[in-house]
């Protein structure tokens, strides 16, 4: 029982990621109509349209308009994740999260970080990648990130066949495992950056109770975006940064009940 409690959000997240992936897979393989398409565009029960708002934004930048269906789908997704808050997409939906979490896990097991200085990269790189991606879209006349997104390659690979896409996934894995900690999801991925912006004012947020904190720093150690936990041990407060993925790992590792999920604007901070 204890172990389930210790990994309660992890179990929920993996179930969410895997079941979504399976439903997409079944949409193609068995013709189930629960979810058809993939993370770029899809339909629920052949009716409700969903679209990746970042992809649609790139199509706009490339100088094209899309059908109202795709627009409505992008709006639905944007609204959902804007309300949910943080990068819920990244840690509850995105299939690449499974890969990079594994890389991070192995990184801890083999204590890669203890081997001295590692490479450094700004966490703002992702916002630059968004900007460059939109400019490249404008000049090349296509949605630029969609042409090389390893996230889409992995997701499409699971549904329609991988091709040489495994190479992209492997390189992301090795990059996160051996080069930079949380290198892809936490530094480069423009989709993550995009959802950071969207989820900036969302509802579900991590809150910290300073009074219970014993400064063990386990939460900082486990957090894939540790800059968002700047208040830990210093003051009571909510994680307000959109870069927090709402993965809930900090809550799970905290032995002092100092971290909790809360509702911004609604629940009290302490």
């Amino acid at each position: 029982m204890g172990i389930i409690r210790k990994y309660r959000f992890m179990i929920l997240r993996r179930s969410s990621q895997l079941s979504l992936m399976f439903l997409f897979f079944a949409g193609n393989a068995y013709g189930w109509s629960v979810l058809k398409g993939n993370l770029s565009s899809s339909r629920i029960m052949d009716e409700v349209p969903l679209s990746d708002p970042f992809a649609i934004l790139q199509i706009f930048a490339a100088g094209s308009i899309v059908s109202s269906e795709a627009l409505l789908g992008a709006l639905t997704i944007t609204t959902f994740f804007a309300i949910a808050g943080g990068r819920v997409f990244c840690s509850w939906v995105c299939p690449m999260n499974l890969v990079t979490d594994l890389a991070n896990r192995l990184r801890r097991t083999f204590r890669i970080d203890s081997a001295g200085k590692s490479w450094w990269m700004s966490r703002n790189t992702r916002y630059w990648v968004i900007g460059i991606g939109l400019i490249v879209s404008l000049f090349m006349g296509v949605a630029a990130f969609e042409w090389l997104s390893p996230v889409s390659m992995l997701h499409r690979g699971v549904i329609y066949g991988m091709g040489a896409g495994w190479a992209a996934v492997l390189s992301i894995f090795l990059f996160d495992f051996l080069v930079i900690k949380n290198g892809f999801c936490g530094h480069i991925c423009p989709l993550g950056g995009f959802y950071s912006i969207i989820g900036r004012f969302g509802l579900f947020r991590i809150r910290h109770h300073k009074g219970k904190c014993t400064l063990c720093m386990k939460c900082i150690e486990i957090c894939p975006e540790k800059q968002v936990l700047s208040m830990v041990g210093k003051k009571d407060g909510m994680v307000l940064s959109g870069e927090c993925t709402n993965c809930g790992r900090c809550i799970e590792v905290c032995d002092d009940n100092a971290m909790k999920f809360g509702m911004r604007y609604i629940s009290k901070i302490t």
Partner: protein, 276 residues
């Protein structure tokens, strides 16, 4: 006195260092961004250049198809014959976009065009496969699809050798419109006929059933994208005996834009000089 001066210069140095640092960091960031952007663009340009790709029926012209397609794969899922393939990395085609390989599986020309209907963005455009019926209402017509055009290699097509084969002709869903058979005398034997298939671009949809049916080891009739398979005559060459073709002249300026060393001279002068 000396101390104060040193202090001031130290301050200035720090200030200029700060400014210098900021400038250098900005320039470095920009350099990084431009490098990344160029590599990124180069990658896309390389992938975009692949010309021999056959898109599903109703696909907008390649440029606008590529910008609108979100690579969701719903057309692939909708295809009841599993004829559509979603390009995966390593296919040397724009990744995630749908295409056909008619020799493996052609388009069977569903009347309700489920692949087109599944498209959420309009990359597969309904208006390109619809026509007005008697009451002015738009109606789907798969025969308007322009997936590509069948091209015949006359040197390897055994019908052109004089051996009787009409596999492509018989299988064509627009038999006698898209593919006809032309009878000519077999000069080699002097007593047989050659029954040669001929493709007509106005009717051919590029479904690829002929390519699939072709009996030669490697298909001698195969579908190519229309922009690859077809030429285009300039508006200055008109079939004067065809009123419809005359219409291509509308809006064409009489001024010619082509200038060559010869055309820069007056025609009379060019004739009189006698240097041709």
């Amino acid at each position: 006195m000396g101390d104060a001066r040193e202090e001031i210069s130290e301050e200035i140095r720090e200030e200029t260092n700060g400014r210098r640092k900021f400038l250098i960091e900005t320039v470095r960031g920009l350099g990084f961004a431009v490098t990344g952007g160029l590599v990124w663009s180069g990658f896309i340009e390389g992938k975009k250049a692949y010309p021999f790709i056959l898109r599903p029926p109703g696909a907008a012209p390649e440029e606008s198809f590529l910008v609108r397609c979100t690579k969701c794969g719903m057309c692939v899922e909708a295809c009841p014959y599993d004829a559509l393939i979603l390009a995966s990395p390593g296919d040397e085609r724009p990744v995630g976009t749908p295409y056909l390989m008619p020799r493996e599986r052609p388009c069977y020309m569903c009347k309700d065009i489920p692949c087109m209907k599944a498209c959420p963005t309009g990359a597969l455009d309904k208006s390109l496969v619809s026509e007005k019926d008697g009451h002015g209402k738009a109606k789907l017509n798969i025969n308007l699809a322009k997936i590509g055009m069948a091209v015949i290699d006359r040197e390897n097509c055994i019908a052109y050798w004089g051996i009787q084969c009409d596999a492509c002709y018989r299988v064509c869903p627009l038999i006698d419109k898209a593919i006809t058979v032309e009878y000519t005398r077999n000069e080699r034997t002097g007593k047989h006929a050659i029954l040669a298939p001929v493709v007509h671009s106005d009717a051919c949809t590029g479904c690829g059933l002929c390519e699939r049916a072709c009996v030669t080891k490697k298909a001698s009739i195969f579908v190519l994208p229309r922009r690859v398979a077809m030429g285009e005559s300039s508006e200055r060459y008109i079939r004067g005996w065809d009123i419809k073709d005359e219409q291509r002249l509308e809006g064409v300026s009489p001024e010619t834009k082509t200038v060559t060393p010869r055309s820069s001279k007056d025609p009379l002068e060019y004739l009189n000089k006698g240097d041709f």
